[in-house]
């Protein structure tokens, strides 16, 4: 991987790839019809099929199949395609944490993850945290300690807080604050958020 940022468009690269792809041992993630076209040295008109690729993910225990452009982020896929808008877009650059979701149980910023990178993964969003009407202990604690005002960062804060407890980074208020610093709250609910996490941790509640 070299770091020159050559913006020059090598227009033939896609066709080259199509022609040569049968030589490649790797799994090129392309629709099978296009792969066949490529293997038979077909014309680049098939190339537009490359614009979208298949995706299989599980979100909140529900399986989804999609056919999407690789440039779609996990965040935009959740919000715009699945209409799971509990996950928020705060900066779109990994600088605020509003888009925090769990992927295979770990917290990540969904704005800097391409949806297609999550093939086969289990994703949990804020919508998947409560058990129906029964709130997750962290959600309950956020209400009790008023861990939010406008509510926009809240989904990310709660997803992050749950992960923080699971990770075991809750041994002091200072440690909680440090490990919650990837979630910006402009309303300034931080001390209340720490109170909520302390309560959940000390309550030994299952997270």
């Amino acid at each position: 991987m070299q770091s020159s940022d050559n913006k020059k468009n090598s227009g033939d690269s896609r066709r080259d790839f199509l022609k040569k792809s049968s030589l490649i041992t790797a799994i090129a993630l392309t629709p099978s019809v296009a792969m066949k076209a490529a293997e038979s040295q077909a014309d680049e008109r098939f190339a537009e099929l490359f614009e979208k690729i298949p995706l299989n993910v599980t979100v909140n225990n529900k399986a989804y199949k999609a056919f999407i452009e690789p440039r779609v982020t996990l965040l935009d896929y959740l919000r715009e395609e699945l209409h799971l808008t509990g996950t928020k877009k705060g900066c779109d650059h990994g600088q605020c944490g509003a888009c925090t979701v769990h992927v295979d149980g770990e917290r990540i910023n969904s704005c800097l993850s391409l949806a297609v990178m999550n093939e086969g993964k289990k994703i949990t969003t804020i919508e998947g945290l409560a058990n129906g009407e029964e709130l997750h202990p962290m959600q309950q604690a956020f209400i009790k300690h008023d861990g939010f005002q406008c509510g926009y960062c809240t989904s990310g804060q709660i997803m992050s807080a749950v992960a923080c407890v699971r990770e075991g980074h809750t041994n002091s208020r200072a440690e909680i604050s440090e490990y919650m610093s990837g979630n910006i709250c402009r309303c300034g609910a931080y001390p209340n958020i720490v109170d909520a996490i302390v309560e959940v941790k000390e309550g030994g509640m299952k997270v």
């Binding site: 209409h83 779109d92 919508e127 956020f142 406008c150 926009y152 979630n183 309303c187 300034g188 720490v194």
Partner: protein
């Protein structure tokens, strides 16, 4: 708004929705045929667009339209002369770098984003200036009076005082940057019916602006804004980007959603502008203030004037016979500012409250004692008594809580290893505003109360507060009360700003509840029931499903006879690392003297939030413009440092909690602004106390401590 059974009546009524992701913000409404808009912005700071090449963008996959000054739809108000010059798509002029010049609409967000990158503008550039300091030094640069000069007693009396200080204080641009990105969904339907989902602090204001720009009847426009992901003032106007989106929807006949980028949040939706202030203070040797002079210069845009209350506090906060102020606004080639939390008063308080601390130091007086000594009995500016003011009690409670007794008046006295400890204090004050609003109340036989008003909730907990007011008056549990807001079809209310919502809307809620109560009493009397009968029984007996009352409420003449303010005192302990210059705010006690506390939990949170905002203002926040290019260099959340969790200690909030019934029937004054106003000075004063270093230009970053 869904109202779940609350565990505690002080819990937020929308808490369930907010912690489950169920609260819908503007960008989250699903509309059939929704399209995505992305803005193209200017890459020069001043000049004219000479050509705009949109061909490549128009041909890009999924693109529906590219709209600019070349092909905009009709917006009659923009065809007229006058008003602000920023008539989006009706001008080829560039007033600032990052100004929207086109909107690309496509069937997906990704496609619109890519196509926007293909639009190429050519410009005729002109000389520009984005630097306030440079404009001040240029005698030819335009300068405008921001507020009439004020004078009582002798002008510049401080100059001849026994003890005096004279200093300059500089605040950089600070940006609101609420967590929710700004934008709008606009849906222009046949027969000029327009529905928008907006991020606004005032649905009626947005409705009025759209009606005015497009010259369509106000009732044709429906504005929805139930949940707003923070505003801090940014949503107090309808921005050109919103009008652009409405135009785009009108043009293509489909709903268009625009969500601007975090980078664009720095340029096109206002800021707290750079301010350069000079404060001169004089006192007698025994510490009586004899002169205050506060002179302020603030930025405005070249295309629109912006003013705020930078020098207000100097006129009444301290007992002083000789006060003069002036406030000048200076156009620079940046986007127009907009009031940001605490607005000008917070800017001014940094200077004045730092200066007070400096003067106390010169006098070798405890700054708290100095403030108490100069606490006014009445408002000398208005020549009226204060409706209520419990500052001395607030000083006492806060000082005890923070451990003010441990403070040494000599700076740099408390040292532990590489860390120096210091204490600082500052006062905040803001008008106890109250406007005019209407509320509709519907009391139902099923035991519930529905309240409606076209107000907003950008985070303080409007519905929660209103529910508590109604609950106490009608003796209904808050779980049975629903407060609807954020909808322009509801009874009219002003925008949420200036710490006035609780006072304004709450008073109308109060009046509605009082009227409902007497209606129920009348019905009870008419049906031979006891006057204290439960309303459910009364309605049932009268075979009424509900009773409905709408009331408009506003201040009486008390406002003419009294000076009405909310006050806050901020106590701060800081630790300063002498080798690395790192400043940590280690303790905070904020005392609110804002009348009766209606909603204890949300009120406390508001004070906490103000302190966190104050840490940002004092220590970390500065939007930096490279004046050679007129472009922001740190226009993102990695480089523009909003405080994070680890920056914030535990915060003690104390309320005086004494009602002031002259202000409104609840006796409650607003507190959104006072939570922040003055805080940055308390930090700077604490840093001085810790180190002996007086930092007069915010933010107080490590480099300034080491300098």
């Amino acid at each position: 708004m869904e109202n779940r059974i609350l565990k505690d009546e002080n819990d937020r009524v929308d808490g369930f929705l907010k912690v489950t992701g169920g609260a819908k913000y503007f960008a989250e409404y699903e509309l059939p045929g929704l399209t995505y808009g992305v803005l193209v912005t200017s890459t020069i700071t001043k000049g004219k667009i000479t050509a705009l090449d949109t061909k490549a963008a128009e041909k890009a996959p999924g693109v529906i339209a590219v709209l600019s000054h070349l092909n905009k739809p009709s917006a009659p108000a923009y065809e007229q002369e006058g008003g602000s010059q920023m008539k989006i798509f009706y001008t080829d002029k560039i007033f600032y770098n990052g100004q929207p010049i086109a909107i690309v609409v496509a069937n997906t967000f990704e496609r619109a984003t890519y196509a926007a990158s293909l639009v190429k503008a050519t410009y005729a550039k002109e000389e520009f200036n984005t630097n306030l300091d440079k404009a001040l030094k240029n005698s030819k640069a335009k300068k405008l009076q921001g507020q009439p000069d004020y004078k009582r007693g002798i002008e510049n009396a401080y100059k001849t005082a026994e003890i005096k200080i004279e200093q300059q204080y500089i605040l950089p641009i600070e940006t609101h940057n609420p967590m929710e990105l700004h934008g709008i969904i606009a849906d222009w339907r046949p027969a000029n019916k327009v529905t928008v989902y907006a991020k606004t602090q005032g649905v009626k204001a947005t409705q009025g602006t759209i009606a005015n720009v497009f010259k369509i009847p106000i009732e044709n426009i429906q504005v929805n804004s139930e949940f707003v992901g923070g505003g801090f003032g940014m949503g107090l106007r309808t921005w050109p980007l919103e009008i652009a989106t409405v135009m785009a929807s009108k043009h293509i006949g489909k709903p268009v959603k625009l969500v601007i980028t975090r980078m664009q949040m720095f340029t096109m939706v206002g800021n707290r502008p750079t301010a350069i202030q000079k404060v001169g203070l004089g006192a007698t040797k025994d510490g009586k203030l004899t002169g205050i002079t506060h002179t302020a210069f603030g930025e405005t845009a070249s295309y629109e004037n912006f003013t705020e209350g930078v020098v207000n506090m100097a006129k009444f906060m301290y007992q002083c016979d000789n006060v003069n102020t002036s406030y000048t606004i200076v156009p620079v080639d940046l986007g127009v500012p907009i009031w940001m939390r605490g607005p000008g008063e917070a800017t001014g308080a940094f200077a004045l409250e730092s200066a007070i601390d400096e003067l106390a130091h010169e006098l070798d007086m405890d700054p708290l004692d100095f403030r108490i000594k100069n606490d006014p009995e009445m408002d000398q500016q208005k020549n009226k008594p204060f409706s209520s003011k419990n500052i001395k009690e607030a000083y006492k409670l806060g000082a005890e809580k923070i451990g003010w007794g441990k403070r040494k008046n000599k700076p740099g006295s408390l040292i532990e290893g590489s860390w120096q400890t210091g204490y600082g204090v500052s006062v905040g004050v803001f008008n106890a505003n109250r406007g005019k609003a209407s509320v509709k109340g519907i009391l139902r036989a099923d035991g519930t109360l529905l309240l409606q008003s076209a107000t907003s909730d950008i985070g303080p907990g409007t519905g929660t507060g209103m529910g508590l007011i109604a609950s106490k008056l009608l003796n209904i549990p808050t779980s049975k009360i629903t407060f609807e807001l954020g909808d322009s079809s509801l009874p009219p209310a002003p925008s949420q700003g200036g710490s006035a919502t609780l006072s304004t809307i709450g008073s109308a809620v109060n009046d509605v509840c009082v009227a409902l109560k007497s209606t129920i009493a009348e019905l009870a009397a008419n049906s031979n029931m006891d006057a204290t009968s439960n309303f459910v029984d009364v309605l049932k007996k009268n075979k009424l499903p509900s009773v409905e009352i709408t009331k408009e409420s506003q201040s009486g003449k008390e406002r003419d006879n009294y000076s009405m303010y909310s006050f806050s005192i901020h106590f701060v302990q800081v630790k300063v690392h002498s080798l690395t210059g790192v400043v940590k705010v280690s303790k905070i006690v904020s005392v609110g003297d804002s009348g009766k506390i209606v909603s204890s939990k949300t009120a406390r949170s508001q004070m906490v939030g103000g302190a966190v905002g104050g840490i940002g203002m004092a220590l970390t926040e500065e939007a930096i413009v490279d004046h050679r290019y007129g472009r922001y260099i740190n226009n993102n959340f990695a480089d523009y440092h909003v405080p994070v969790n680890a920056d914030v200690p535990e915060i003690d909030v104390i309320f005086i909690d004494k009602p002031d019934f002259l202000v409104n029937p609840m006796g409650a004054k607003g507190m959104g602004e006072i939570a922040l106003i003055g805080f940055s000075a308390a930090v700077a004063n604490a840093v001085f106390n810790a180190t002996g270093k007086r930092i007069r230009n915010l933010p107080i970053t490590p480099d300034k401590i080491l300098a």
